[in-house]
Amino acid sequence: MIPGSTVVPSVLPLVLLLTSLVPALVIFGLREDQRRVRTALNLSGAFVKAAIVVVLIPVVLSGEKLRWSFAWIPGLEIVFVTDTFSLFFVGLSSALWLVTTIYAIGYLEGSPNRSRFFGFFSLCVTATTGIALAQNLFTFLVFFELLTLVTYPLVAHRGTPEAMRGARTYLGYTLAGGVVLLLGVAWLTLEVGPVEFVAGGIPAVAELAARDPATATVIGALLLTGVSVKAALFPLHGWLPIAMVAPAPVSALLHAVAVVKAGAFGIIRVVEDTFGFALFAELGLLQVLAVAAAVTIVYGSLRALTQDDLKKRLAYSTVSQVAYIALGAALLSPVATAGAIVHMVNQGVMKITLFFCAGLFAEELKVHRVSELAGVGRRMPLTAAAFTVAALGMIGLPPFAGFISKWALGVGALDAGQPWVVGVLITSTVLNAGYFLPVIIAMWTRPAAIPASEERAPRLSERGTRRIEAPAALLVPALVTAVLVVALGVGAGWEFSPWSLAQFIADGAWP
């Protein structure tokens, strides 16, 4: 526990929101050809946000929380607080927003409707930041719904019938989930008032559960169901593989930081900071979550095995991997909690790398299928290397990031007296290997299916000069995140590493 943690009124949480909101609103007003202004706005917003996070980390670790609030209607506040967990999530989203923005600028070079795209892109990050900083369930709900709305135009961006169908499915699932969440939040607010999150559980909620366990259970189930739709827990995952029709940077954002991760973050907020692990277990909901997560992990991996479409395989992999976070949150052990929290970062960085690479393959070689990836390791060695690193991380090999998560979850499961979870982890690891290793092997060892002429031609840029295998704006973000996959694993013991921070946050919730 943080000794003598203090709450300081400050406008900084609001500034964190504005660093992406203001660029978004300005970008909407820009003409299509104002490319430089748009890029400058995007990058400066992302940089400022990341800088603020870096400055805030030591402040928050020293036990000082910054708080900004205003009365929304009499008796109900919108509250933003930078506690360790919210800052953790803001840090993740701002860092990955920065690299994704660079990637997206390169990816959408010359395509129409870019002002609309980048406007909603920034709004998406604003909503994620709001979700992270929300200090009561009401504020969380507002931004959770906002995220649904602002992501829709991104998924539908291409405007093709397929994109419209995907966006429609996405909207159907997430809005229905939002309605369930709204009911849960409204009901809980009625019962206990607009209470704020407390690491380890809100006392008023515990009182409610003591007074009326049935109501508390129903509310808990509603909240959990509401957030699980975005987290794509089985059987609420149906939207995710269809929403991958979105442009690659959107898929990267959706799978790594924004939508799916917001759902996972919500699960932890509900379990850890609203009900508390012990109470959630007492109400019988923690076991339900554990089973749902375990089923999702295996199911997602099995489905991923059979997908030939690369992005679809990655999407099912996300279904499976995000459930690790839910699984960690469903175990009564501080180590497992820390594992869940750190996996938010690890999965995000690994998955964003994979989607960046998938986008690179699609853009450069027009390759969308796993079966067409044979030999691309020779044509695009850097991209293939980045893909390999991230995929090995996903499988959970040391020293990559994914190993940390799996190790923590396994130790946590034993700590919590649930050895069957280790079985789930091992099964999943075997399946992960089953759907990633063939890709890696095909990329590096199989002969290329691409004709020799085509293999050479794209190496020249439009101006005819030589370049590396792909435009730098696309390649560099993928390489940066791939390096991060290694760094997160190797540097896990460092003082400010996500793993250390995750342990710190988890300890706060386990007095």
Partner: protein
């Protein structure tokens, strides 16, 4: 500093007289100057409403006897929080509609638009402040005449719709007049508050309440008396449609609210009527939503959406009754939620119809299938429809979410699960047809065809967008509005 009560009282009549003078002036000046007169009058009225807002927020309900004639005989005006809020909505919407109409005469149908709208504004503002039942009758009739004439401006094909509208609206007023006569016979007064005090419960009182309920239900197009609206609203010129949906039905709705607020606990059958009305509203939410989903014309979809939204706006009737579980807190939340939702609906509907008007001018028709590419070609109008649609669905960060949240809290506090279900399912249904509109305007990049006609002046889209933006801004900061409505809730049997 809030204005003194006496000065405040003197200001109240201005909300009626300013548009009245403007209407007369407008009818006399040349066509070119009409827009200017109307906008100037609305701005002046807006200043009055602003002062009233400050005054009512500070010192509660303001009551004034015209020319010193006291009740039971005189004509009294009464301004509470909801009155001020509705007046504010009226002026904001009028301003946007006037700005759009002045820039693009094609949206108005005829020069007669200007004085007619101002006469309608007299009636609408009057209903929001009238304290006696007979004045309300006169104002409602004036409103009917002006509104029917405005629908008829839609040209060929609109006259049949206008005639049907006239028939329904006049019948509704007659029901109301009959009720007024019954109450006057029983109590010897026309003042609503006084009559509610003197009214003894019995068959006559119940019959009067039933007459008011049915009469107003017809005028607000409450299911199953709604069939005139999806014909009349789309037939009118775009600027008129915006006013009809946003403001005109709100006047009759306001009368219904006022009557239930006054006699809610004085008449034993009132809660039964309230629940029956709300049940009809719930059916309307579903029916209107399903019908909207199945239509393929923009303006018809928006009109059916009004049928659905009216259903929400009568949910307030059972929720604001003081007795029952949840007590006063639930009653106030229900009242305030309903009023906020009405304002949100007004902003969103006016924005949507104006934007639809802009699209119709450019695309020559409002067939959904013909609007491909509007997101890229007319982004402001498309964004307006999207934002207003989000507001109709009651999603954050728009104002309707504030109203819906309060209605939800009120229903939950009362243990009224059926209203909770209506609110939640209705919201999803709303977004389903809103999404149909949004989808129709998407097109693959590079394949967005240019609209066949020249788009209207930018002012139209800007005016429409301003209304949609207002619903977002007020939706993020609804506290002053909610505080105003809650601080000066109407006195009487309910609440």
């Amino acid at each position: 500093m809030p204005p003194a009560p006496a000065a405040l009282a003197a200001l109240v009549p201005l909300v009626v007289f300013v548009p009245l003078v403007a209407a007369v002036v407008c009818a006399m000046v040349p066509v070119r100057a009409r827009g200017t007169v109307a906008i100037a009058a609305t701005l002046a009225g807006g200043v009055v409403v602003g002062v009233l807002w400050a005054g009512v927020a500070a010192s509660g309900i303001v009551r004034v006897e015209l020319a010193g004639w006291a009740a039971p005989l005189g004509i009294a005006l009464q301004v509470d929080g909801a009155s001020v809020a509705m007046l504010a909505l009226t002026h904001v919407v009028l301003l946007a509609v006037f700005a759009a109409a002045a820039a693009e005469p094609r949206l108005t149908g005829s020069e007669a638009f200007w004085p007619l709208v101002l006469f309608a504004a007299v009636a609408i503002s009057g209903v929001f402040v009238a304290a006696d039942m007979f004045s309300v009758y006169v104002l409602l009739e004036l409103l009917t005449l002006a509104a029917v004439a405005l629908v008829a401006l839609g040209g060929r094909g609109a006259s049949a719709a206008a005639l049907r509208y006239l028939f329904v609206a006049v019948t509704g007023s007659l029901f109301y007049l009959l009720a007024v006569a019954l109450v006057y016979g029983e109590t010897g007064t026309l003042d609503l508050t006084l009559a509610a005090d003197r009214l003894t419960d019995g068959p006559v009182a119940a019959a009067a309440l039933a007459l008011v309920t049915v009469g107003m239900a017809a005028k607000i197009a409450l299911f199953p008396l709604h069939s005139w609206l999806p014909v009349a609203h789309p037939a009118a010129p775009a600027a008129v449609s915006a006013l009809l949906s946003a403001l005109v039905i709100k006047a009759s709705l306001f009368v219904l609210w006022r009557v239930y607020a006054a006699v809610g606990t004085a008449i034993d059958l009132a809660p039964v009527f309230a629940i029956a009305t709300a049940a009809a509203g719930a059916a309307g939410v579903l029916w209107g939503g399903v019908m909207a989903l199945r239509r393929d014309r923009l303006k018809t979809v928006i009109a059916y959406s009004t049928v659905a939204q009216v259903g929400y706006l009568v949910l307030i009737l059972p929720l604001m009754l003081a007795d029952g579980p949840g007590g006063e807190g639930a009653a106030v939340a229900g009242w305030s939620g309903g009023v906020v939702l009405a304002i949100a609906h007004g902003l969103a509907k006016a924005a949507m119809f104006l934007a639809a008007g802009a699209l119709v001018v450019a695309y020559g028709s409002d067939k959904l299938s013909g609007l491909r590419g509007a997101h890229a070609r007319m982004p402001l109008a498309a964004a307006t429809i999207s934002i207003a649609g989000v507001s109709l669905a009651g999603l954050p960060p728009t104002l309707a979410f504030a109203g819906k949240w309060q209605l939800l809290e009120s229903s939950l506090a009362r243990g009224a699960w059926w209203w909770v279900a209506v609110l939640l399912v209705g919201g999803l249904l709303t977004f389903a047809y809103v999404a149909t509109m949004i989808r129709a305007m998407f097109a693959p990049p590079g394949e967005d065809p240019a609209p066949p006609h020249a788009p209207p002046r930018r002012t139209v889209s800007v005016a429409a967008f301003s209304l949609a933006a207002a619903s977002v801004v007020v939706g993020i900061f609804p506290a002053p509005l909610v505080a105003l409505i809650e601080a000066a809730a109407p006195l009487g049997g309910a609440l």
